[in-house]
Amino acid sequence: MPSGARQGWLIATGLMLALCLFFLWQSWLLPLTDKLGPGPGFFPFWLSLVGAIFSLLLLIGVLRRSMAEYEAADSQLPDGYGIRRIAAILASLAVATLLMDVLGFQLTMLGFNAILVVLLGERRWPVIAVFAVAGSFGVYYIFTRWLDVLLPPGVLDF
């Protein structure tokens, strides 16, 4: 059974190799030279070729290295507590991003703030309520009125 860190390195370098090969193919489709000199495909072509070679060398290096070299890195893998919190942050962020265009910044962030702090362990409801309102309606007001930053108004745009 391969170690977690070793598996991670194998997957990461494998994906990087695939990405470089994809860029290599895509830049091959672009003109490498034109009558003025190097074309749009020139720089990315050579870069992705070099990147593919580096990732291949790295992949070979990972395959040749002993398991013991990865043991220290394995001890840094997140435990259940860490995984739950990371999942909470990513899921809340993804849902907020999905809803932002529809509901707008204020309503989305009101829900996002309240739900995420609860998922991260907060239980003082009055504090949560104040934080959620300040972090949504308050922040929206400051950024749009004082700092001239445009944010999605959504359903409250009337």
Binding site: Q26, L30, F43, F54, G82, L90, F131, L147
Partner: protein
């Protein structure tokens, strides 16, 4: 006008009401963001960029530079009080700073750190004033071939000093450059790697990538850890004793020199000067056994070198347009967002702006000293904010930052994707700094190379005909060649460093 007159002009501008306010706000916000454990100056500066969107370019850059310095100092407070470095350079401060806090000397440690940072930062800014203009004047003679050589040399120095795995650093550089290629070709305007997605025609934005890799990535790492307990320190009595002053003064002097000299070299990173200044003090000390057990010189040397480095790192950025660290790359991104390209032409085209920014470094250093000595107790209270609120608050800024530059949710998705990528790559110990620097330098590198090759009708022989370009391109060959031939020697040096 000569340098002194320009500096006086800049000082006058930076002391105007609004610019002073921006510097003050930047120092406050920077210190606050630097206090958040796990969130370093790169992420802090990137996250706070949206606050500057409505400001004029001078005010925006003054504020962001102040955020950078403030974040550096904020990291010191967490190092001393909770033994968690706010950023990599504060790792060394943890060693003696936390030991001092446990002995009830947290006030002295933080005061000396603030004073050392002030002295180091101010002297380094004086040196910056002296060095920047002659260097920029020299760089004005550079053609595209020399600029290409300079950028390649800068990137390779970053790679050479990036970490244990040089091949991974090289690969991250290539990936950063490839991401920079997405969008319209900077020379002919042809779309590349856009796959018909309209949002990709403008290229992948620097802000969502940095916010993702550094901001979200660091937050996810912080989310794994249980919140550290803060030492209940007496911060009202922060005045160091006479003996502590004596011990620290020489360390501050040496730390300034080490920080400034190493800050001039692209790619060195803040941890090298802080570590080197610390080691020098330990070697020169009559009682080296005190180091690690609360030696105030340890805190003074590391913090002084850290701030001297931060100011010196602005020399390659302002004079040559080369960012020497991820945070300086974020600042370079902020310059570009504001329609400014740092480098020698900026000195020629907008001298008033450049010198106002340089002069604001002096002002920022004074503000930080004033803020940090009497208000250290207040900053310490911020460390008690629960992670749930801190994390959610930072995410609000990340969402605003990623969305507001182009007003599209695509960039927020990009930030989220790069956040996951940043977390995974950090866990696997892939160096991220080369990717960020490559991302920002990529379009300029390509433009320089292609312009050079157009001049020479496609012949690479032009690099052999231009001695400076050839010399600059030799640097990466030597650095990378040496690293490839002697990787074990480097590993041994790093092993000794770590110990």
């Amino acid at each position: 006008m000569d340098t002194f007159q320009y500096l006086l002009l800049g000082l006058g501008n930076s002391l105007s009401g609004t610019n002073l306010l921006f510097a003050f706000a930047g120092c406050m916000l920077g210190t606050m963001i630097g206090l958040l454990p796990g969130l370093g100056p790169s992420a802090g500066t990137a996250i706070l960029i949206p606050l500057t969107f409505s400001l004029d370019p001078t005010g925006a850059i003054i504020m962001l530079c102040a955020i950078y310095y403030g974040a550096m100092y904020g990291g010191t407070i967490t190092s001393v009080l909770i033994n968690v470095p706010g950023e990599a350079a504060s790792v060394i401060t943890c060693i003696d700073g936390y030991a001092m806090a446990r002995q009830g000397r947290a006030g002295s440690a933080l005061a000396i750190a603030a004073i050392g940072s002030f002295v180091g930062g101010t002297i380094a800014t004086v040196a910056l004033v002296v060095v920047a203009l002659p260097l920029a004047t020299l760089a004005l003679k550079f053609g595209p071939a020399e600029f290409f050589g300079l950028m390649v040399a800068g990137l390779c120095l970053v790679i050479g000093l990036a970490g244990r795995n040089m091949m991974a650093a090289l690969l991250m550089t290539v990936l950063g450059l490839l991401i920079a290629m997405i969008g319209l070709d900077p020379v002919r305007g042809a779309p590349r790697f856009t796959f018909g997605i309209p949002e990709l025609y403008d290229g992948i934005g620097f802000i969502p990538v940095v916010m993702g890799l550094f901001g979200i990535g660091e937050l996810l790492l912080a989310a794994e850890r249980r919140q550290a307990n803060m030492i209940n320190a007496d911060l009202k009595n922060w005045n160091p004793t006479k003996q502590e002053w004596v011990l620290s003064s020489k360390a501050i002097g040496r730390g300034t020199v080490v920080g400034f000299v190493l800050g001039l070299i692209p790619g060195v990173g803040a941890i090298v000067p802080t570590f080197m200044a610390y080691v020098i003090e330990k070697r020169l000390s009559k009682n080296p056994e005190r180091f690690g057990n609360g030696a105030i010189e340890g805190v003074a040397s590391a913090e002084t070198a850290n701030n001297a480095y931060a100011n010196a790192a602005m020399v390659p950025l302002l004079a040559l347009g080369i960012p020497s660290s991820p945070t300086v790359a974020v600042l370079m991104g902020a310059f570009i967002i504001n329609g400014l390209t740092p480098g020698p032409f900026l000195f020629q085209e907008k001298p008033e702006l450049v010198w106002t920014i340089i002069a604001s470094f002096f002002v920022g250093n004074v503000i930080l000293l004033i803020l940090n000595l009497p208000l250290v107790g207040l900053w310490a209270k911020l460390l008690k904010i629960p992670f749930s609120y801190m994390c959610t608050g930072v995410l609000i800024f990340c969402i605003i930052g990623a969305y507001s530059l182009k007003q599209n949710m695509f960039d927020v998705w990009l930030m989220l994707g790069f956040g996951v990528l940043g977390y995974v790559l950090r866990k696997l110990e892939f160096p991220l700094a080369p990717a960020i620097l490559a991302l920002i330098l990529g379009p300029m590198m390509e433009r320089s190379l292609r312009t050079t090759l157009e001049i020479s009708a496609g012949s690479f022989g032009i690099f052999l005909e231009r001695p400076l370009a050839l010399a600059l391109l030799t640097i990466p060959v030597i650095v990378l060649g040496f690293m490839l031939i002697k990787p074990r020697a480097f590993a041994r040096v790093r092993q000794t460093d770590a110990e």
